[in-house]
């Protein structure tokens, strides 16, 4: 029970932080932000590695391996896509490129 309480504490505090950390997001960043947080929940890969690492029966090994595979897709794909979206904004907001031509 103490263990549960400790996890609940972390859970509740994380909810507060999650709400606070996102406030005003310009609409151009909605998609990158979604994609970025999509990559962050890919941390399930760590969970998948842990359950596979402690697996003993065949069903556990099969399910664990599958979970690692899916988790890897989530993490790697999520970060690469987000980076690809964001690299197009590089430096633009501070220094618009049309300026020097005019």
């Amino acid at each position: 029970m103490n263990q549960l309480l400790q996890y609940l504490t972390v859970f509740v505090l994380s909810i507060v932080v999650g709400f606070e950390v996102i406030s005003k997001v310009p609409s151009i960043l909605h998609t990158p932000l979604m994609s970025g947080s999509n990559a962050i929940h890919g941390v399930i890969l760590v969970g998948a590695m842990l359950v596979l690492g402690n697996a003993t029966s065949t069903p556990e090994i099969v399910l664990g391996t599958l979970a690692v595979l899916l988790g890897t897709l989530n993490v790697v794909g999520g970060f690469v896509v987000t980076d690809r979206m964001l690299e197009m904004f590089r430096g633009k907001p501070e220094k618009p490129r049309g300026e020097d031509a005019a």
Partner: protein
Amino acid sequence: MSRGTFIDLCYLIAALTFIVALKGLSSPRHARQGNLVAIGGMTLAVAVTFAQPHLAHLPWMIAAMAVGAAVAVPTSRFVKMTAIPQLVAAFNGVGGGAAALVSITGYLALSRTTVVCSGGFLSECHSTGGVQDVAVYKILEVVLGVVIGTVSFAGSAIAFAKLQELMTGRPVTYPGQQQANAVIAAAVVAIAATLLVTGSVVWLWLLLVLSAVLGVAFVLPVGGADVPVLISLLNSFTGLAVAASGFTIGSNLLIIAGTLVGASGILLTRLMSSAMGRSLPNILFSAFGAVTTASGATEKGDRSVRAGTAEDVGVLLAYAHKVVVIPGYGLAVAQAQHVVRELVDELHRRGVETFFAIHPVAGRMPGHMNVLLAEANVPYDELKEMDEANPELPTADVALVVGANDTVNPAADTEPGSPIYGMPIIHADDAANVVFLKRSMRPGFAGIDNDLLYDPKTVLLFGDAKDTLTKLLAAVKAA
């Protein structure tokens, strides 16, 4: 410092990087660094997990990771920018699936070493002769992880199919749908309750299957421009499923990261739906299409439209004072972002004031159009958001609508019966002339007819947006 403490410290650092990353991702200036920080944290977390004592089945683990990376990197690197939304849906879905699997595997491991206790809710069970019982709250955590994760997996799969046009993008509805969905949801709850009492693994598998059905049923009636908002919601679900898995396997890192995404995802979903002028329940439960069929094309079947030639429109543009380009998904599909840039450059050379007016949901996702135009090197200051662009439109000579439809549909202002009523639009109809570049008379993504097409001041140029823009460019140069 023991190895366990060191690993936990690294997990703490990783959790911190995720918070910093989310903060960064919500400001244009720090978005890219934010993502890189998260990549760093994730790499650290995965790397130290290998240092966990007694980690078995390493060959399987490494093989699965190698295959996953080998699939994910090229897919996300080389897929066309227009297909990004469905890619996000897919990566979100696999995350949900992984969370469900981790919860199940965690439960299998628990029930292997322990005996399920039949005590009351949240009761801690006492060890009986070396074997500890599984407390009911432990099963509840598993149930939550499996249900939420699987709903997210199945729902994302349908969202992917809709965006990839493997199935109709329109809402799928049938009589009694709400009731049918309620029955499925009730069945999920009933099975979950049975599982809590019996703790039998058979019920867990049944729960898995039925949750998948629920995910599909939940997503089918959502269609059209609402799908991105739905993906954002499912993204938040996956976060919560990850947090539930974290409870099951006892990982603070999973609880923190999952909950962060769950909470911020809900907020982001609300931001997105308010950008479309709709509430979230409205998006989820009021099948968009139902109204369309009632008030749509029927009475407006055979009105005439004015089709023009590229030459005429080229002259119109070349001698205008102010041109507003309103891009939509059609521009992206035709891969015309580079040509449109050339056209705008040419107009600038001729002294025509020209800028892009970007609707918050232009493209298939908020911000999608900005990404596409940025890819074509359109300077940031030539992109104006809707609120900034609308006051300029009454003084514009030409509104050039490239592959957009719903985002300029005046029905959103004037027809209370229309499914898009209340959605903020770009007021192309305020400009002196409106030029539509369209592939055909087919209605837009939301499937609604657009009165502006029949307006006397509107000229239509049919054809692929890229071809038409190329011809327009030549016509402007010749004028």
